[in-house]
């Protein structure tokens, strides 16, 4: 009986190996329906654009790159089903970015899958989930992250704040979930070390995506006398926060992670916060890098959005480079090639995929959003306003230690 069942289990496995890989399939697992679809759609088109770019140059190792869209409805369980579906369809590389909860589930799934299916390994490229835990306590050999995690971003931001003496009273307002929590705790510990004179006058966590009117929160910020606010808010939580503060006449500087996300620039323009909203990111338009400018122009000509994911450019180009270096598309060999790899990043300068935790380190930029001069050719969301560089933080200044104890396959 037992042998019979095992034989039954093995039969399809043996049958599946014979399939030849004609293309390099990358499974894109992100929301393509429901509330998160507008974000997922932008990501998908960005990947598609880069796949076209690679294919125009002959693909990777002579094979065409194909992006397989898989709708996970921003749901971790659904993501695992889609990952299984992708693997069935011959996908050996999956990429995902929206939602740390999905990322946590996926990295767990990939690690277990690879352990249970030796010889059929799958790699997971993370382009936007920034929970630090993914490259610390929960790090995995099969997971690579191109976005700076939220601690790295805070390290860069606080290094900038070290010299910004105008900041005296600071208010923290974040969404009540793991990301908001890590922004808030990192801000507190890092500022204590770097700028002990800054007074943190408020520390707020509000429910995620459930607030329709931020007026009560803004009243609290106003009452605290803060001159600057740090927020990790994104999506409607960011737009509505700015709307309510414009209504109440709150005048502070905003230090944000995701002001550039869909709807963000429009909200800043409407609240009339000219160069009062700052964003920390790995790249922005208007940096004056000719190669990046050409890319940006081509993307905008094809789609009606600007490049929100410079990290996706790095991810795809670096994947191609790693496969060429390994002379193979075997995920284990590609992973080995990626470890410690140095790369010329999209906006200029060098980046490194750190071997210890598979976190990519790259130059970070702090930019403010507002009216433009001659030097800033690109605007956002047809507002007429654009990004202006405030400071560049070199990768060495963002190198945080990791607690990762990487387990490598033998």
């Amino acid at each position: 009986m037992r042998q019979w069942i095992i034989a039954a289990a093995l039969l399809p496995v043996l049958g599946g190996v014979a399939l030849a890989q004609e293309t390099v399939k990358i499974g894109y697992i992100d929301p393509l329906s429901g509330g998160g679809a507008s974000v997922g759609e932008v990501g998908f088109k960005t990947f598609q654009f880069l796949a076209d770019e690679l294919n125009a140059k002959g693909g990777i190792l002579g094979k065409k790159v194909e992006i397989v869209p898989l709708d996970n409805k921003t749901n971790p369980q659904e993501s695992l089903i889609q990952a299984q579906k992708a693997i069935d369809a011959g996908v050996r590389y999956i990429t995902q970015g929206n939602g740390s909860s999905v990322a946590g589930a996926l990295t767990d799934f990939v690690a277990k899958y690879n352990e249970r299916n030796p010889g059929k390994e799958v790699l997971y490229f993370n382009y936007a989930a920034v929970d630090p835990v993914l490259t610390n306590a929960k790090c995995s050999f099969w997971h690579f992250r191109w976005d700076a995690n939220s601690d790295i971003k805070m390290e860069a931001l606080t290094n900038y704040m070290k010299s910004a003496s105008a900041i005296k009273k600071l208010y923290l307002i974040n969404q009540d979930y793991s990301f908001g929590e890590s922004v808030r705790s990192a801000a507190k510990t890092m500022l204590k070390a770097k700028r002990p004179d800054i007074q943190i006058v408020g520390d707020e966590l509000h429910p995620l995506l459930k607030i329709t009117d931020f007026a009560p929160y803004v009243a609290k910020i106003k009452a605290s006398g803060a001159d600057s606010v740090i927020t990790g808010n994104w999506g409607q939580d960011f737009a509505l926060l700015l709307k309510a503060s414009a209504d109440a006449g709150l005048k502070v500087n905003w230090y944000t992670y995701y002001a550039g996300g869909t709807g963000g620039p429009t909200a800043i323009k409407q609240a009339n916060l000219n160069h009062q909203v700052f964003q920390i990111a790995e790249g922005i338009p208007n940096l004056g890098n000719p190669a990046a400018d050409t890319f940006e122009k081509a993307l905008r000509a094809k789609y009606d959005f600007s490049l929100f994911y410079p990290r996706v450019v790095n991810e795809m180009r670096m994947f191609a480079a790693a496969a060429e270096k390994a002379k193979s598309l075997d995920p284990v060999k590609v992973a080995a090639a990626l470890e410690g790899m140095e790369f010329d990043v999209y906006d200029g300068g060098k980046g490194t995929m750190r071997k210890d935790d598979h976190q990519f380190f790259q130059p970070m930029y702090i930019a403010s959003f507002g009216d433009r001069t001659e030097k800033e050719p690109f605007d956002e969301e047809k507002t007429g306003w654009g990004w202006r560089l405030a400071a560049k933080i070199e990768p060495e200044q963002t190198m945080l230690p990791t607690t990762c104890k990487m387990e490598r396959p033998n």
Binding site: G35, P207, L209, I211, D213, A219, K220, A223, G249
Partner: protein, 315 residues
């Protein structure tokens, strides 16, 4: 501190009045038709989106008038061609019909207007600070919202107390079967009530749209709270719905402005428990649990007064 109290009271009353605009329609519909309209918040959303679209074409003021009429007409059509067909299959089927309708309306709104918030602006006539208390501006538009809701509340009260239709509706609140036996055209009254109820929700949508957010998830955000309001106030009780709305509006707004936690009151937890789940309860602030306050209130009411605050009828 005083500043926070004044602002929070104003915001709380405003939110409460908006809730009442919806809860009143929901309550009357429930009393007469015996069906809790799950899609009621969806008509609030439709009001906001119709208002957005019409104000693009004709300006805000015509939109304020036309959008509720459109939504109300749609509501009446839903009653006439949808609910009435389902009625023979029982109340559960009716409730499920409105449940499915809410689902479909959200999808349709997403298809037509997208998933991101639309740019529904406050009319420029009202885009100025009405007054300033302790250096905080209070927008004129919010005062306008408050006035509109109060005006409709008074109007509703007058219609219910003075007009013939109002008397029938009131009678139906307590004795729905008797009204039918008295020979009133129950079908037409049902359609009318459904239309007016959904139109009221749409008014709330048009005036709340520019101030809050006009997005395809606005119905799903507000829907459950609306049901809490009518259950807490007492199913089928109009004064109950009024008190419930104000109560929940104020509770939610005030909870946000409070920072208290068990940790703040009794000092940090002893280290032996610091890693356990008790630590979560210990350190959570009142502001953090503000959104679940209505549901806690609901459970408390159900334990101590299962009928709701002013309810009289069982179901």
């Amino acid at each position: 501190m005083l500043e926070l109290i004044v602002i929070s009271t104003l915001n709380g009353v405003l939110f409460g009045m908006l809730l009442f605009l919806m809860a009143s329609g929901l309550t009357v519909i429930f009393s007469m038709l015996g069906v809790l309209n799950f899609a009621h918040a969806s008509f609030y959303m439709l009001g906001a989106f119709f208002g957005f679209q019409l104000s693009r074409w004709f300006g805000f003021w015509p939109a304020l008038l036309v959008a509720p009429l459109l939504a109300g007409g749609l509501g009446a059509a839903v009653e006439r061609f949808g609910l009435r067909q389902v009625h023979k299959n029982g109340h559960v089927a009716e409730l499920l019909f409105t449940f499915g309708l809410a689902f479909v309306i959200e999808e349709l709104v997403q298809i037509i207007w997208g998933k991101s918030p639309v740019d529904f602006r406050i009319p420029s006539v009202l885009d100025f600070p009405a007054f300033t208390i302790f250096s905080t501006n209070y927008p004129a538009y919010k005062m306008f919202m408050l006035l509109v809701s109060i005006a409709i509340f008074v109007g509703l009260l007058l219609v219910l107390k003075k007009s013939r239709v109002g008397l029938i509706v009131q009678a139906a609140l307590t004795h729905p079967h008797m009204v039918g036996h008295l020979g009133h055209n129950v079908g037409r009254i049902f359609m009318l009530v459904f239309g007016v109820g959904t139109a009221l929700a749409a008014v709330a949508g048009v005036i709340a749209g520019p101030a809050l957010v006009t997005q395809s998830n606005m119905a799903a955000l507000l829907g459950p709270i609306l049901f809490v309001v009518v259950v807490v106030g007492g199913l089928g009780s109009l004064p109950g719905a009024f008190i419930g709305s104000l109560l929940i509006g104020l509770v939610q707004t005030f909870a946000v402005s409070m920072n208290g936690s068990l940790e703040g009151a009794f000092g940090p937890l002893s280290p032996t428990y610091a890693q356990s789940w008790l630590a979560d309860i210990w350190s959570v602030t009142i502001a953090q649990i503000a959104p679940i306050m209505p549901y806690m209130l609901l459970v408390l009411i159900l334990i101590f007064r299962p009928m709701g605050l002013l309810g009289t009828r069982e179901t």
